[in-house]
């Protein structure tokens, strides 16, 4: 398959890996964060850690919209789904995420809630047209990549006067989260998260462009390499970061130039700007309150805002005390540092969302990487 197979070539991988090993200065430690959960998944799925020298370490960031959704907001989705007239449409990723009291959308479905897995927001629109007597609520999650499709769906619903369609909006933003990671350090942590460089998200960047990351280079002096989604892209980006760090540079580089341009996708940004506005603050699971980091529907589309239509607001819920997702999401701890990893907390019985989402650091490590010995700290 074109643009996929070429970027999974094993021989090229070995060459790049050899370059990384040759150029990484032995006495230095390179701590690189891949922000995007999809990159985390790719790293584990292709066994990339095996190809890196021991002093180049990948830290798994919070770019997993499933993982960072606070329990209280998921609980609200479950409550909505359990209402008799509601048909809740969700991406497959959310079905098994545990909310409070061991509830989940999958379990709610077993209890009789009308929960439908959709591949696209347009499927939810179609359901709303087909089921005029149902209140069709689209459970919108995701970063900037997934936001434009939601915005298009709202515009279509408004144009058609689709009265029974609404969106429960949980879209979040990448640059504010990156800023938050670097600005805050939890005093309770044994060491604040030290990140030497970022592997930037592939498809978020397709939408927002590379210009959106300028702040990192200028203000925080951290190199960012926007990496494509395939394993060869990730490896090459790691090499580019090692080189920047060695040279003492801190710039934005675009490895994914075949899909990412500096200004991003202006049409998509325009549509999002029409439909959505930035929330002053939003709670991220594991990061706490992050200012200007999420979106809600604008007033003119209030009729399609589920929180407005159903006059509901999420209740803050408690995390499992033993769950280390907060520290893991911020890159401070590894899955194996969590006391309940692999014992109480497994994909069959997830305690926190890092274990449920396929790209959560814990699930990725458990599913793909637990055959390794845990690294000595």
């Amino acid at each position: 398959m074109k643009y996929i197979d070429e970027f999974r070539d094993g021989a090229a991988a070995r060459a790049v890996a050899a370059r990384i090993a040759a150029e990484a200065v032995p006495a230095r430690e390179y701590r690189l964060m891949e922000f995007c959960g999809g990159h985390t998944h790719a790293i584990f799925r292709y066994g990339i850690p095996d190809l890196l020298p021991p002093n180049v370490r990948m830290i798994h960031g919070p770019g997993c919209p499933v993982c960072v959704l606070p329990i209280g907001r998921l609980d609200l989705a479950i409550d909505l789904a359990l209402r008799p007239k509601v048909t809740l449409c969700t991406y497959g990723d959310m079905m098994r995420v545990p909310g409070s009291r061991k509830r989940s959308l999958l379990r709610a479905k077993a209890e009789g809630a009308d929960v439908r897995i959709v591949y696209s927001a347009t499927d939810a629109l179609r359901l709303a047209r087909e089921l005029p007597d149902r209140e069709v609520v689209f459970f919108a999650i995701g970063f900037e990549t997934t936001t434009p499709p939601t915005a298009v769906a709202v515009q279509i619903a408004a144009a058609e006067g689709l009265r029974n369609f609404s969106v429960y909006c949980n879209h979040v933003l990448t640059p504010p989260a990156l800023v938050h990671l670097l600005e805050t350090a939890n005093p309770e942590d044994p060491e604040p998260v030290r990140i030497d460089g970022f592997v930037g998200p592939a498809h978020v960047s397709v939408v927002i462009g590379t210009d959106a990351y300028q702040r990192f280079a200028e203000h925080y002096r951290k190199p960012v390499v926007i990496a494509g989604f395939e394993p060869l892209d990730v490896l090459q980006s790691i090499l580019m970061l090692v080189r920047q760090i060695n040279d003492g540079r801190a710039t934005i580089e675009n490895e994914y130039s075949r899909a990412v341009v500096p200004a991003g996708n202006l049409r998509a940004q325009e549509i999002v700007g029409d439909v959505l506005q930035v929330r002053e603050t939003f709670e991220w699971r594991g990061l706490g309150e992050v200012p200007f980091s999420a979106l809600r529907l604008r007033g003119k589309y209030a009729a399609f805002d589920a929180e407005h239509r159903f006059a509901v607001a999420p209740v803050k819920a408690r995390e499992n005390k033993a769950c280390e997702c907060p520290a893991i999401l911020r890159g401070v701890k590894r899955p194996t540092d969590c006391g309940i990893f692999g014992t109480v907390c497994t994909p069959e019985n997830p305690m926190g969302s890092c274990m449920v989402s396929a790209e959560g650091a814990c699930a990725a490590y458990y599913t793909y990487g637990r055959h390794k010995q845990p690294a000595v700290a």
Partner: protein, 353 residues
Amino acid sequence: MDTIEPKGRSMKARTLDFARGRVDMSHGGGGRAMAQLIDEVFRSAFDNPVLDRGDDQALLDVGAGRIAFSTDSYVISPLFFPGGDIGSLAVHGTVNDLAMAGAVPQWLSSAFIIEEGFLLADLKRIADSMASAARAAGVAIVTGDTKVVERGKGDGVFINTAGIGVVPPGVDIHPRRARPGDAILVSGTIGDHGVAILSHRQGLAFETDIVSDSAPLHGLVAAMLTAAPDLHVLRDPTRGGVAATLNEIAQAAGVGMRLNESALPVRTQVRGACELLGLDPLNVANEGKLLAICAAADADRVLAAMRAHAFGRDAAIIGSVVEDPSRFVAMDTVFGGRRMVDWLTGEQLPRIC
């Protein structure tokens, strides 16, 4: 006094209306309506001397040897899919369960739970499909049962089949026989059935030429046993895919496994569908493939025998069994790194992330 029959009118009951008729509660009531249904749909399709006796049980001459006995229920949706339907699946599935013990399948039972309102035409189509699958597989459906449940209490139709086969002497196949050093083989391309089903499921519609691989495998097994009588393990990777099946075997045998990703046979379109939906072919169901584990010395002979058979053309050696107290199944990726092949908690769901 003789009864005078009105001219031109037969007193025989009318045959079932296969054009527009539906199953109703009377068809499960044990009376004439049910008898007619059984007769015109099932008995006429399955058509064999044992069934024709019309007894409540089948009396069979089994002969010498160990009996293999298996059962499975089929609750799939959609009922009709490219490459098969619930009927052919119900025959192949149970035939294959028997074949995985090296048994020669001979007789099946089939029990139907039909939802009120189900189209008779569809029921006939399913029965005919079962009959044809059974004939091709050389098995007879010799006994069965029919029930009808109220509308809303069944998903169209549920089918249970149970099967009996005889295991030839000297054949000793079961998961605990997997030993470090053994070779792991697969009989052909993986993920075909799951993708064929998904392409027809509401909300995920995509067009593909992929058809289900549903097929009876006992002929293939017989060919393999001729080449290497001492096969260690056979199993068909149905729900959960190759990943689930290999993990089950690893757990049962107390061994680990190492797979070679570049050796896995996967059709391009299956790859494409999995890329689109974020699925891994290793987790996708198959209904006409088997996994075999044999001594390394036998591997080439077994492979050749598989490739010479119609249902094994794309067979490949995909890895080996290793010593591993943790019983991990790991894979060397096309990329050069190694990762685990785990089995999933539940059905793999399409993802956006």
